[in-house]
Symmetry: C2
Subunit: 343 residues, 2 copies
C-alpha cells in the first residue's frame, strides 16, 4: 500500500488523547504531512492542528483522510461513516487503523467504488506474498529488536532515519506496524500476515537496493516474548540485517501481557546473532536504545554509561539524548554507506 | 474442527498417485476409518480400497467425504462439484485439503446450508485464537522438530502415538498440518494462522491435560529454514514441549526450496533448547529420527549407530525400524507418564 500525503487527521469523537495515540505518532514524525484535524462534537483528543472541514482540507491539498484512532472493539462507529463518505466524495482516499475494514461499511464501500477512491486498512493487507527465500539482497539493512514489545523499536528506527538523513545517508524507514505505515505512507502490518509468509513479506518490504542504501526496519515483539516470538524470528530472517539495535525499557520486570521476566540485553544480542546469521553471516549489534523516561537525568546517564561499558556499544535514549552515538558507530563500521544523498 | 469418521475417500480424476499423497497418508495411518474410495473416469490414483458409490458408502456408515487430493492451483474442478453435492445430499459432511474453500463453490455452499452439513477446509481456519500466554500447562508434551521441512516430523509423531498407545501410554497426536488433521480428525494448519496467533493456536491445539498425558505435536519447518522459521519458533513456544525429537534426512545437502545448507542435528538440538526453555525450562531432546530410505540396510544401521553415539540419544528410522528405542527413553525419563490407558 502507498498512502498519499498530505493528510487530514480524522479523530471522530474519541474520549481522550490515548485513543488518538496513532494520530499523535503521525504528527510527531510527519507534521509536514498533517495539514489539519477534523473532530466531531464531544471529541476529547486534540492534535493541536488547525480544525478544518473537508472542504477546507481539500482546498489545502489534502489527499487522504486518516482515521488514526482506536476505540473499543476496533469497530467503526456508525455515526463516523457520513464524514468518511464526505471525504471520499470530495476526492480523498481514506486510511484506517481500526480492526474493522472500511469497506465492511456498505456506504463507505459504495462511495469509494463510485468515486474511484482507495480505502487503506493498515492492519490488513491484500498483498500476496511469496514465501521468503533468505537469499542475500544488495543494500544495507538495520533492524531494531527488543527485550520486549513496546520498548521503542519504531521510535528508534524513525530517529535513526532522521539522523542518518541529516548526515547525508541514503536511508529509508521500513514500517512493519500500523503507526509506522501511516508515518511512512507504506509498509505491511507484519503481525497480520499469514504465518507462512512472515519472512517473505519482510523481503517485499525491504527489497534489493543500492549497495550503499540503508533500510531501517521497524522490529516487532521479541525473540523472548512467548506470544510473538514467531513474528520476531520471521522478521529477523526476512530482514537479513547487517546491523541491529537492541531496544530496552530498564524499569520493566515482566514482559507485556505475560508473566515472563525480561531477558537481558546480552541474551537478546546473543540470540539475535545466533539466529540472524542464517540469512546474514555478517550480522552485528551496533547500539543499544534505552527508554529512560522513568529515570531522572543522573540515573538515566548512569544507566546508559553502564550499558555502554558492559556491552562495548553506544547506548542512547533516542528521545532524551538522540541517536547520534549509534550513527557515529554506523559511520565508522560501514564505510560503503552512501553519503551523497540529499533529502 | 472435528471431522467425523468413517471417511469416503474422493479422488476425482487426478492423474497420478502423487496427487493423492494426502489421501495415501490418511489410509496409511487410519485404514480403519477409510471405508472406500470414489473415483471419476480417468483417475490415475488408487488407494487400494473398495470403489463405491455415495449410496454404498452411506450404507456402510460413511460420515465424511474426504477430498484428499492436490491439483494444479489448488482449485476445485467444476466437474467435481456434483459428486460433492451428492455426498452432502446423502447426509455426509465434506472435508477438503484444497487451497480453494469448498464454500466458495455456490452449489456446494447451498447444498451444505440446505442439508445442515459441515464443510471443512483443513488449510483454513475460522477459529479465533487468543495470543499465546506461555504459561505452563499441566500434561506432558513432545514436539517433533527438524533439520528441514519434510524430514519426517508428522510420521514420527504418529509413529510415537501408535507405539506409546500400544504400550499403554495415554497419548494423543496433535496435528498442525493438513494431512495430520485428516488423520486425527482435528487440528489447525498452523502455517495458515495469522502471524500474531501462532503460539496461541498451538496452546489451543494442545491444551491443559492430565499430568501424565502426552500430546505428540506435529512440528513444522525448521528454526534454520529462512522461509518458515517464524512458524517453527511460534510452534515451539506454544507447544512448550517437555521432550523433542529431531527429524533428519541425511542425504539432503540443501534445505527445501532455498539455497541454504542443512544445519547439523547438534545445531538443531542446541537452538531448540535455547529457545524452548522460555516456556519450558525442563525441555530436553529424547531422540533422533532419521529417514534412511536412500540408504541400504548396512549404511542405514551405520548412520543410526553413529548419530546415537555422537548425541548419546536413541536414533531410529521410524519407517524402517520403528520408534521403540525412543519410547524406551521416554519410559525411563518420564516415570509420571500415565500407563493405564487402554486404546
Amino acid at each position: 500500500m502507498q498512502i498519499n500525503p498530505p493528510y487530514l487527521m480524522f479523530l471522530g469523537d474519541v474520549p481522550d488523547q490515548l485513543a488518538a495515540k496513532t494520530a499523535h505518532g503521525i504528527v510527531d514524525w510527519r507534521a509536514e504531512w498533517c495539514i489539519g484535524q477534523m473532530r466531531l462534537p464531544g471529541c476529547g483528543a486534540d492534535l493541536h492542528l488547525a480544525d478544518m472541514t473537508i472542504a477546507e482540507a481539500c482546498a489545502k491539498g489534502a489527499k487522504t483522510m486518516i482515521v488514526g484512532v482506536a476505540n473499543a472493539g476496533g469497530v467503526l462507529p456508525a455515526h463516523w461513516a457520513s464524514s468518511i463518505v464526505a471525504a471520499i466524495e470530495a476526492g480523498m482516499d481514506v486510511a484506517s487503523g481500526l480492526h474493522m475494514k472500511l469497506g465492511d461499511n456498505a456506504e463507505i464501500a459504495a462511495a469509494a467504488a463510485r468515486h474511484g477512491r482507495q480505502l487503506f486498512d493498515v492492519r490488513h493487507t491484500d498483498q500476496r506474498f511469496a514465501t521468503g527465500k533468505g537469499t542475500k539482497r544488495p543494500g544495507l539493512r538495520l533492524l531494531t529488536v527488543g527485550t520486549d514489545c513496546s520498548a521503542g523499536k519504531k521510535y528508534t528506527a524513525l530517529a535513526l532515519e532522521k539522523e542518518m538523513r541529516t548526515r547525508g545517508f541514503d536511508a529509508d524507514f521500513r514500517a512493519t506496524g500500523q503507526t509506522g505505515i501511516f508515518i511512512s505512507g507504506r509498509g505491511v502490518a507484519i503481525d497480520a500476515v499469514v504465518a507462512d509468509f512472515i519472512s517473505g513479506a519482510v523481503e517485499w518490504i525491504a527489497p534489493a537496493a543500492d549497495p550503499g542504501h540503508w533500510d531501517l526496519i521497524e522490529g516487532q515483539g521479541s525473540l523472548f516474548h512467548p506470544s510473538f516470538s514467531g513474528v520476531t524470528l520471521g522478521l529477523l530472517h526476512g530482514a537479513q540485517p547487517d546491523a541491529f539495535v537492541v531496544c530496552h525499557e530498564p524499569t520493566r520486570t515482566r514482559m507485556r501481557g505475560v508473566q515472563h521476566p525480561l531477558p537481558t540485553i546480552q541474551q537478546v544480542i546473543d540470540l539475535t546473532i545466533a539466529c540472524g546469521q542464517l540469512t546474514n553471516p555478517a550480522i552485528r549489534c551496533v547500539g543499544i536504545a534505552i527508554n529512560t523516561q522513568a529515570l531522572d537525568q543522573a540515573a538515566a546517564l548512569h544507566v546508559l554509561a553502564e550499558a555502554s561499558a558492559k556491552h562495548h556499544l553506544p547506548a542512547v535514549d533516542p528521545v532524551r539524548f538522540g541517536v547520534g552515538a549509534i550513527v557515529d558507530r554506523i559511520t565508522a563500521e560501514y564505510p560503503a554507506s552512501t553519503r551523497t544523498k540529499t533529502h
